[in-house]
Amino acid sequence: MSDLLIELFSEEIPARMQKKASEDLRDMMTAALKEAGLTFEIATAYATPRRLTLTVTGLPEKTADISEERRGPRVDAPEKALEGFMRGAGVTRDQLEEREEKKGTFFFARIEKPGRATTEVVAEALEATVRNFPWPKSQRWGDGNLRWVRPLHSIICLFGSAIVDLEIDGIKAGNTTRGHRFMAPEAFEVSDFADYSAKLLDAKVVLDPAMRMAKIAEAAERLAAERGVDWVEDKGLLAEVAGLVEWPVPLMGSFDPSFMEVPEEVLILTMKKDQKYFVTRDKENGKLAPYFITVSNLEAKDGGAAVATGNGRVIAARLADAKFFWEQDLKGKLEDNLPALKDIVFHIELGRMSDRVARMKALAGFLAEYIDGCDPAEAERAAELAKADLVSGMVYEFPEVQGIMGRYYAKAQGESDAVADAIRDHYAPAGPSDACPSAPVSVAVALAEKIDTLVGFFAIDKRPTGSKDPYALRRAALGILRLITENDIRLPLEHVLGLAARPLKPYLELHAGAGEDAILKHLEETFEQHLLPFFADRLKVQQRDLGVRHDLIDAVYAKGDDDLVRILARVSALSAFLDTDDGANLLAGYKRAANILKIEEKKDERSYDQAADAGLLHDPEEKALHGALATATSDAAAALNAEDFEKAMAALSTLRAPIDAFFDKVTVNADDAAVRENRLALLSEIRSAVNTVADFSLIEG
């Protein structure tokens, strides 16, 4: 048994790719080892900015020998057949053995395949891994053709303490590597993984990313405590920063508190995204503190003073730029930006941003009627100003703070909090886990924004296909669903979508043909065939993630309702009902009735969808069922009208016993044709009674 050590040493690997690359190296290599029949104990991979490392312990020296016996032709078979057999088995005549069996005497060959040296398997596997490595982006360099994420400089490949013979495009595997680029640049030899990781540590390289992260967190915590502020931990940033250094040295820097007048979202964005700094907060009031933590890759000879000062200077310049935009933007009013929205094309086929804003404004005003506590005038005002910050200096420079800046500028010009907040919130929710707005005006504008997007792009036939969704329409639909359902908004969705489509008419000639009629027809088709099914589909996807069965949504959706809140209440009641004994039995009874009907209706080539004739009922069980159906149907209908879905289900549950009794005692296919017809009609009454609540034929199980 020996251990394998591999290191692929290159120029700096992008931080975001390191984790997956180390896993890919491990998985590709171990798959190839297993494929060759090699077993091992543990495979562990590591990444630093300049190296991917893999260690595999407990590998045998070679793969197992294979010994196999093969039966050939009978001894009296023609010579040709014997020759073919010997060729296939790779043996000569004198290696064959004759053996008598029941069916005659046959030739036998014994084939011995000696195991392959593990080093040979490793060399092949590593070359294939390097050549086929799934980097998100790779490059060539110099004169060569090899592709790697950045130029690849050297390879360590040690099995035991011996170098594996391997060369890839002129890079010969060896046993040397280098330490930290600046603190230990000399090459050194290693003998195995223990030696390798110990020497790397001496050479100022922490191989394990988890250890680098722990070192950073520990030091950042300490630096912040020394300064009396709180370090804001950020897992994503921590992983990224750990991918930028081989020897992490966190340092604290500061910036002029006068920059704090700039909104903190912008300050944080600049520090985090542009400079990869951790931010700190005041222990008392939780406000952003004028200190940051940067992670350098160096134990500088002055203790890091120059590095901290340099970083402080950079952030000062960046914040000065942000402050410049903030002050410039505040010189004017947010509403002064509105004319400039005419100069921004929203989409070439859907008009300019000013057109979109006009549509959103009308829609938000209309939606306000359906949202408790929403002032239509405020909703319209917020929609009107929602996009005005797009032409501000700050958003031009930092697009990520769109909406956020709009809120600040709206407040600065004296808009109400509800309007200002709605401007900030109207892009939300951006995904399934993003916070969903709940303030009434925010909900109205957020809905208007997404409905305009969705209806617009569907109307010009830019629907998502497969994995392609360039206008993020799935996200828009999910946002609409979440806004409606999480805020219990009772909205006639189809009607609203139709309303949103109205102002789009002038843009649709290209897709619909000329004339009002053609456009209306195009819209109708778009809604029927694409938009509404798309919504149903998205509703199922969204609810599936919440554990709701898709077939129940189908069963309720088939009733043609477009009030999502009502649909979901109905689904929830249905789901609870089907979980009870009564529900499960009723479903079984319904399926039985529906099946018999289907068969008989097909056979007789007619429908039995009709009321049963009370005069033709014979058996007590069918009379009882008939009575129960009448009661249940009217009770269920009344309950549905009152939107009391539990009660509607309870009404249906009274049918369970009479249905069971009916199937127990009554023969549907009676000899008397009239009686048979009447019993089939009774079954059809079961079907329609149950279907008043949901289309049970779509329910699985």
């Binding site: 982006k137 110099g142 970083n311 410049f324």
Partner: protein, 288 residues
């Protein structure tokens, strides 16, 4: 180290590495990459090493001289090494050392930044180089130019000279940079040399540039470029491409090009650039 000394030091350093030292191209351009010594020379099989200073014009970055770091006119120092040598990172770090950046005192980092020029139809992989958190250079391995594979691969280094000088001199405001290092009255700062230029050119870029004329210029440059390509003269054709690109940048600064139109304009410049690269390859008789 004064600004001009730093520039001369870099020139000498790269001259010692065997680079052809060129002077700035005599046309307005947004980046040193546009210089034919980079764009066109990155194509084809012939080895090529060059270094030069290129004044860059970025009309939208003008701040009327009021921002300590942003300029609509600044200098790039550009190095192109083809094929990219094995020790290119070491050579680059050597150049930083030459201008006085001590790697045992300052935190130098290679941070992922893939380069793409939509107007040149070019892309490469590489980094922005950070020195104590400040981006001081762009380092790229060219993979394609004008839509054509670069083979061999050129390594490109672009130093932002003002930023680098601010770093080296420890100055917070670009206009405070010591330009010539002369003592007393003879000393000139970067502001002495360029502040008034920033003020006037910002006003021109944002307020006075005649957009009708610029649209006309763009059209003319496009037509001229097409004509020259037909005449199989890729070098003058490429100059028209440079001109159209800068004209587009001015129009952009004037805010008269919408987001969607923007893509269309960039596409037009790219088509010109691709045409020039293709004609250049043909003229040299290289295989594509």
């Amino acid at each position: 180290m004064p600004f001009q000394k730093m520039l001369l030091t870099l020139q000498n350093y790269w001259a010692d590495q065997g680079c052809v030292i060129l002077q700035p191209y005599d046309m307005e351009m947004g980046a040193g990459t546009f210089h034919p010594a980079t764009t066109l020379k990155a194509l084809g099989p012939e080895p090529w090493k060059a270094a030069y200073v290129q004044p860059c014009r970025r009309p939208t970055d003008g701040r009327y001289g009021e921002n300590p770091m942003r300029l609509q006119h600044y200098y790039q120092f550009q190095v192109i090494l083809k094929p990219s040598p094995e020790n290119m990172q070491e050579l680059y770090l050597g150049s930083l050392k030459a201008i006085g950046i001590d790697a045992e005192l300052h935190d130098i980092r290679f941070v992922e930044d893939d380069w793409e020029s939509p107007t040149l139809g070019a892309w490469g992989l590489g980094w922005e180089v950070w020195c104590d958190g400040m981006e001081v250079s762009q380092y790229t391995y060219f993979q394609q130019v004008g839509g054509f594979d670069c083979k061999p691969v050129s390594g490109e280094l672009t130093y932002g000279l003002e930023r680098l000088a601010m770093f080296v001199q420890g100055v917070d405001n670009v206009y405070d940079l010591d330009f010539n290092g002369a003592p007393g009255d003879e000393n000139k700062t970067y502001g002495d040399v360029f502040l008034e230029n920033e003020r006037q050119q910002s006003a021109y870029n944002f307020e006075h540039a005649d957009t009708d004329k610029l649209f006309e210029d763009f059209k003319k440059a496009q037509e001229e470029c097409a004509k020259l390509l037909e005449a199989e003269l890729p070098l003058p054709a490429y100059e028209q491409c440079i001109k159209s690109s800068h004209t587009f940048n001015l129009l952009d600064a004037r805010g008269v090009i919408s987001v969607t139109e923007r893509q269309a304009y960039i596409g037009r410049v790219r088509d010109l650039a691709k045409g020039c690269c293709e004609a250049w390859i043909k003229k040299n008789g290289w295989e594509v």
